[in-house]
């Protein structure tokens, strides 16, 4: 899942867990209001150098506003944004070591690809030869050598996007903001560019903040993902953590598919002492959930939810053994998406549980079909207990 050079298991890039590490960017109690409307609500956030930080959230939750505050196009109503020791709020946008790649690309229509890329360098009054070299380097990086003399309107959407990327990279900014940078690309080009972005990041050591609506993209490229809702950060974690151990039903539900069942804490399991039992229905056995170490048991009787990803729910016709949670039900629907099938199983009390299986066999040899009586089951370690 994690293809990022930062977040791969082989490399221990985790400055956020090191208390000695100083963040590059610090939001301190930042609030942004448009009139009475609160777009960013008392937000605290640290972004570290060389991070690939992804912002996720529903439309209108304030992602672009957050970016625009970093770039300097909006001022926070309250709170402060620091870059290292500097108050970013005091610096006008054209003096910030921050570059933004606009979602609309905002390429200058009267300038060629080269001129667009050179624009930022010319503003710094660098020597001509240096600018020329740097522009060539950037053009090579985004593979637009053949198009250097063209104007933006003579380029395809994907090529324009790469020009915008090259332009924002040319100045080697400390911080690069990408607002839905790959939104207009087809799947192939998108994956290719994601990979390019990660390579660029590795080469230049820039810190990236990227807004995306595509979870898979966020999971692929990000070192950390921040999930926003109505101007607040709901969870900020690595892709793995945010997917495997979401801190709320909202997060679990936003990222990927999930089954959620509510209940009350019953107490520890009699056999394994890091497993908690959750009473969810008076007629059925309690669900069993393995708690993360170190174990801290919630009080008996408190309301909790269990979240389990469909791919961790197995489905069988025979009564399973060697598992913790078993529910009996009937297959209501099967969604076939090529590589996997999602079974929608209705349990006896009306709960719908989704189970995903890889399509190992040909479709017509599938053992389970509509209206079959089946068991869905998952292990205690495959699910998480949620407080809210």
């Amino acid at each position: 899942m994690n293809g990022s050079p930062n977040s791969g298991s082989g490399c221990n890039f985790a400055p956020w867990s090191d208390p000695k590490e100083k963040p590059l960017i610090r939001f301190d109690a930042v609030t942004k209001k448009f009139g009475d409307f609160v777009a960013i609500d008392n937000l605290n956030l640290k972004i570290y150098e060389r991070e690939f930080f992804a912002l996720l959230g529903p439309s209108g939750c304030g992602k672009t506003t957050l970016m625009r505050m970093l770039a300097g196009f909006e001022q926070p109503t309250m709170g402060s944004i620091m870059m290292r020791q500097q108050h970013l709020t005091d610096i006008p946008p054209h003096r910030r070591p921050v570059n933004m790649m606009f979602q609309s690309y905002a390429l200058f229509p009267h300038m060629s690809v080269e001129q667009n890329i050179a624009f930022g360098l010319k503003q710094e009054k660098r020597p001509k030869a240096e600018i020329k070299d740097r522009v060539e380097e950037m053009i090579a990086l985004v593979q637009l050598q053949a198009f250097a003399k063209r104007k933006p309107h003579q380029l395809s959407g994907g090529q324009r996007q790469r020009v915008a990327l090259a332009r924002s990279l040319a100045k080697k900014p400390k911080l690069l903001l990408l607002d839905e940078p790959l939104g207009a690309l087809d799947r192939k080009l998108r994956e290719q560019t994601q990979f390019e972005l990660m390579t660029i990041q590795e080469k230049l050591g820039t810190t990236f903040v990227i807004v995306t609506h595509d979870q898979e993209e966020a999971m692929t490229v990000a070192s950390r993902i921040a999930l926003m809702d109505q101007g607040k950060l709901v969870q900020v974690s690595t892709p793995r953590e945010i997917y495997e151990t979401p801190n709320s039903r909202y997060v679990a539900d936003f990222l990927g598919d999930v089954n959620i069942i509510g209940g009350h804490i019953l107490g520890p399991d009699d056999k394994e002492d890091d497993i908690v039992q959750l009473a969810w229905h008076e007629d059925y056995a309690p669900l069993r959930i393995r708690l993360p170490q170190p174990v801290s048991f919630p009080e008996k009787g408190t309301e909790r939810w269990v979240a389990v990803r469909p791919e961790k729910v197995r489905i069988t016709k025979e009564y399973p053994t060697d598992t913790h949670n078993i529910l009996k039900g009937k297959v209501l629907d099967i969604a076939y998406t090529g590589n996997i099938s999602t079974y929608h199983v209705e349990t006896e009390d009306g709960q719908i549980i989704k189970s995903q299986e890889a399509n190992l066999e040909h479709l017509h040899r599938r053992a389970i079909t509509w209206d079959d009586e089946v068991y869905v089951h998952w292990r205690a370690g495959g699910c998480v207990l949620l407080e809210r």
Binding site: A71, G72, F73, P92, P93, H94, R95, V98, N99, M100, F102, S104, A106, L107, F108, P109, H110, F119, G120, Q123, E124, K151, H153, R167, K171
Partner: protein, 329 residues
């Protein structure tokens, strides 16, 4: 007459912004879509009848000689004489009037002074019109229709009356002098009326909407995020204005300048009403030649040369419009 139709032609190009490219015209010639052929034919017939035919008549008169007759020139064509009459008319033509225009320095001085007044007025109109158009384009979008209306509002009163009104403002005991003296800025009234300054004021005032409208339309189209991108790349807001806003509004600047320059060159009413006896403009010279001297052939020659002078900027204007078209902006 002749320049007037040119102006409307130019204005038409400006407002619809989509002159028929050669390509579509070629397609027009296919007999299949005769309906569209007809549609495109109507404006051509209009131009032919109301522009080309009168112009040919003017050229014809310019090649004739003055006479005390009705009409006041010879030779004329008599239907009764048939082909021989036609041949007589053509053989009577010569370029005498045009050589006369070159010999008498009044004419080329008038042309030069007209061009100078038109150029300076265009630049003044640009200087005044740009901030107006810019602030209009930046105004909250719910205000913009009202602001546009205000720019067009003067057209609701007669052009002649508006120019006349300036006499009341600019004359010695006029509003402007009274106000300035009242405020103690000057002690003696300024002589503005019947000078070139009054002509500049009149032209700039009258043609300002033609400057503001194309400027506004090109500035309004501009994407604000381009300026944000420029500042993001380290460009100060002032420099961003020069590097982004001005080049991108260049089509509007050129269109506005041509739309002021072209009618200003041949302007007659304004120099006649506001200008002094030594304000030389070709429109005035033409009027004197035509009505006071009743020298139709020389007047026609003046008009023909004026048209030839104006063809250059008009062609440039169209070139520029076409280029804009190609860019697909």
């Amino acid at each position: 007459m002749s320049e007037l139709s040119n102006i409307t032609e130019g204005a038409g190009l400006m407002t619809n912004g989509q002159p028929d490219s050669p390509k579509t015209q070629r397609r027009m010639s296919l007999p299949k879509n005769w309906g569209r052929c007809l549609l495109i034919l109507v404006p051509y017939i209009w131009l032919l009848v109301l522009f080309l035919v009168p112009f040919i008549i003017v050229v014809k008169i310019s090649l004739s000689d003055t006479a005390i007759a009705m009409p006041p020139y010879v030779p004329t064509f008599a239907w009764s004489e048939g082909w021989t009459g036609f041949w007589n008319m053509i053989s009577g033509w010569d370029l005498e009037n045009f050589t006369w225009l070159m010999e008498d320095d009044l004419y080329w001085k008038s042309y030069l002074s007209s061009l100078e007044i038109a150029v300076v007025s265009s630049l003044l109109a640009l200087l005044i019109g740009y901030p107006i158009a810019y602030s209009m384009a930046r105004a909250p979008s719910e205000w913009r229709p009202t602001l546009l209306m205000l720019i067009i509002l003067p057209f609701w009163t007669s052009f002649l009356i508006r120019v006349y009104a300036w006499i009341g403002i600019l004359k010695k005991e006029g509003l402007l002098n009274m106000a300035l003296m009242h405020l103690g800025i000057i002690d003696d009234p300024l002589t503005i009326l019947n000078t070139d300054i009054a002509v500049y004021i009149g032209i700039v005032y009258s043609y300002l909407p033609f400057m503001v409208l194309p400027l506004y339309s090109s500035l309004e189209k501009m994407d604000d995020s381009l300026l944000e991108a420029a500042t993001d790349l380290g460009c100060s807001p002032f420099k961003a204005f020069w590097l982004i806003t001005v080049p991108l509004s260049m089509p509007g600047i050129l269109a506005g300048c041509f739309l002021v320059f072209i009618p200003a060159v041949g302007e007659f009413v304004i120099p006649d009403l506001l200008g002094g006896s030594n304000t030389l403009m070709i429109g005035k010279t033409l009027w004197v030649e035509f009505f006071s001297n009743r020298d139709w052939p020389v007047a026609s020659a003046v008009a023909v040369i004026l048209l030839i002078l104006l063809v250059v900027p008009i062609v440039l204007f169209q070139r520029q419009q076409e280029k804009q078209q190609e860019k697909g902006a």
